[in-house]
Symmetry: C2
Amino acid sequence: LNTEAMQQAQVRLDILTKPLGSLGRLESIAKQLAGITGNPRPQISKKCVVVMAGDHGVASEGVSAFPSEVTYQMVANFIRGGAGINVLARHSNADVFVVDMGVAVDIDLPGVINRKIDYGTRNMVIEPAMTYEQAVKALEAGVEIAKDLIKNQGYTLLATGEMGIANTTPSSALLAVFGGLKVEDVCGRGTGIDEAGLKNKQNAIRKAIEVNQPNVNDPIDVLAKVGGYEIAGLAGLILGAAANKTPIIIDGFISSAAALIAQRIAPLSVEYMIPSHASEEPGHKMILELLGLKPMLLLNMRLGEGTGAALAMHIVEGACKIINEMATFADAGVTGP
Amino acid sequence: LNTEAMQQAQVRLDILTKPLGSLGRLESIAKQLAGITGNPRPQISKKCVVVMAGDHGVASEGVSAFPSEVTYQMVANFIRGGAGINVLARHSNADVFVVDMGVAVDIDLPGVINRKIDYGTRNMVIEPAMTYEQAVKALEAGVEIAKDLIKNQGYTLLATGEMGIANTTPSSALLAVFGGLKVEDVCGRGTGIDEAGLKNKQNAIRKAIEVNQPNVNDPIDVLAKVGGYEIAGLAGLILGAAANKTPIIIDGFISSAAALIAQRIAPLSVEYMIPSHASEEPGHKMILELLGLKPMLLLNMRLGEGTGAALAMHIVEGACKIINEMATFADAGVTGP
């Protein structure tokens, strides 16, 4: 990050008409954005949420409350504007991009960005979810999409979102492997499975790790063996945002699993990440801790799609407005402390 | 609350294209708004933050990092639009109303609503902050302002804000009395006093409670003896919002102290309150617990003015848009769980 811009931002924050540091996270976000962009008075103009979709072979183990075809159906819902992310992105004045990273069926809906690597992952309980080459290809797709959005389309704030029936299962597996944690501690109920379903999901994750023996020192190996295409794409998107000096808001559990991969590939990428909410999914807090990020929104949400990130955009923009629009003690004729 | 409208809202929430309950607080807020307004598809149109200002005799005990004249100076800053609350209210498309409830000097700035009860409170370390009659008058002023904003000006969402140098001191006193808590547990550093300043502030609060012996069973007696005019006005505003079936967002520590008075006067008023952020001021979480409210924003803020409430407006509006704009499983052709 640009430390000179950050220092200049701090100097300004300290002369604004408020007790020192009293705007907390708004001030630290303003400073982070100064460091990311090199502009001590950072501005946000175009914003977007990138919703990546993929299917999961492990869904055949019955780990989700919903059938796999819902991934495609929800992609169609995103394109028509009727999903939760559409409503909340519109509310935050952000555009939504939908990317097919690996949905199990062909998609010919207008507006869907086709970066399909394969028709869903393989069932990781039996074999690797994807090959190493497929994982690299999916990461690269994400990097390229970020670059296009930033360099060609002028977006200055990105956010992650996803759709993929069963994708809390690979996300839990990634957390267990990278964090060296027990499966029963990292695994939650996703879209809402019962106690027996939870046990079944935990067993599937345990088996997947046992069968595939992912190498924790090679993040792409872990991603390939127990990850997913939309997760890989988002990890690439995050790396691409960082490479192009653009802040990116991380949504909930699955997006954070992607962020964890990005961090393991390029540790400095964390400096470009802005956390959003604390999901109800129990593993989410653990991933945020591994990343050293603290959630800003406590809304008991667990929908994904980028819904928490879309809401957090309002906070990030508010932080920019604070540093740009607030009066100083001198301007306002207010006695300092 | 209107339980029929709430039930209808719940029915709709459950058929929207998302796992049951997965939008957490957004869903419960939508349901609460349905109950408050009687409309199962609640809408928010005009929004405002009411910033009430008052001075405090106890400031002469040196309990704040800022001198009392800053109250007036900040009122002038509010009117010019340069304060934190102006920036964040604009960002949430909300109007700001500034009310002089008891600033120590005359104010002749255009746009300030004059409901001055007195030129600051008395020093509560020596005598009651105000008389019982003054406390009632201040409460009534708040009730009347709420009624005017809702009935005559058409606001459908209110938020509380305040300015008053030294006002974390009476707020801490109110919390200690109503909660039966130790002063050292409820008292924080406000705008940023040092360790010696904190001890001095705690002693002032202890003395104020000892000298005045507030009667915890008579909330107006407690308010009169160890409260403040802007706090009383806000308590009235909250009661007025509830009486006129309008939701009101509660800002930080001082606003929550006002909410606690409102609750002690009329327990059902809590159903009309929507919490916003968790302030850095340690007593804030305790008040929210007494009220049974949970914060939605974790931003380490401690500015007051209504800044946390202004940010939370975006979440509340988002909740309304979710229930009104999201597609149902049937409409979207998505398979349910």
